[in-house]
Amino acid sequence: MGLVQRVLEASGIATVTLSWIPDLTRAVGVPRLAGIGYPPGRPMGRPHDPDGQRAVLRATLELLATATGPDTYVELPFEWPESPAQAWKACQGVAPPIVGLLKKKPWLVANLYSGKIPHDTEP
């Protein structure tokens, strides 16, 4: 997403990313970044919690006006109400194809780490 953000920003649109994995987003190099300690799949907050979602979006959008230069990073003060174990348990049936492939061919995990994506491997 940081890559898309850079393109939009360079085209003249002011951008901000709200990231649950700010370490990775910031490493790409982005103009404005709001980090949040929420789990994957629920970046704005819990379903049917409009007040919580609105607070997150408000804090994210305010960064558009307050940032004065690139690589502006702010950590939002919101805390997820569940432990990682509880948040993980709430996710059911998530089975990315790459996980199935790496269970069959675990040595290919080196390619995932390095970014050297194989183009000749049948799953």
Binding site: M1, V4, A10, L61, P70, W88, V94, G100
Partner: protein, 167 residues
Amino acid sequence: MAIDSYRFLDFASRQVMKAWAARAHEPGAIPFTPLAKPLRECTVALVSTAGVARNDDRPFDQEGERRNPWWGDPSFRVIPLGTTERDVRLYHMHIDPRFGESDLDVVLPMRRLAELAGEGLVGRPAPTHYSTMGYILEPKELVETTAPAIAGLMRAEGVDAAALVPA
């Protein structure tokens, strides 16, 4: 930083994401466009990476990713303002889609944006918002085709600012 980016990830995903962060640096200066006008006058668009597609639009290509797990669909979908969870599905296979499918604002907060426009924080929500699918290991098409296309559509609608929400 105080936020632990990897807190909610399993061990294997954590190690992979850390490795990606260690080599993520893009060459060149980070672009920066100052807001052209006060935020309260800006037209704002949203981008989600949850793989949101309307039911009357083409789904993201899950079958292609099943055939080749190293590949992710690098295209995008337009999501008109007013679209709700009743009108969409989430096609990102690396997250649980049920949260966004029960409340679309969890990943693409168009209703919240409209409320904040009503409060005067921003000028107005753009007529159109966007979704990509976040699992893209080789981002060439995403960067060279998809992102410029989204930028063009945003500019055509007079978008001043965008908020991007990785899922």
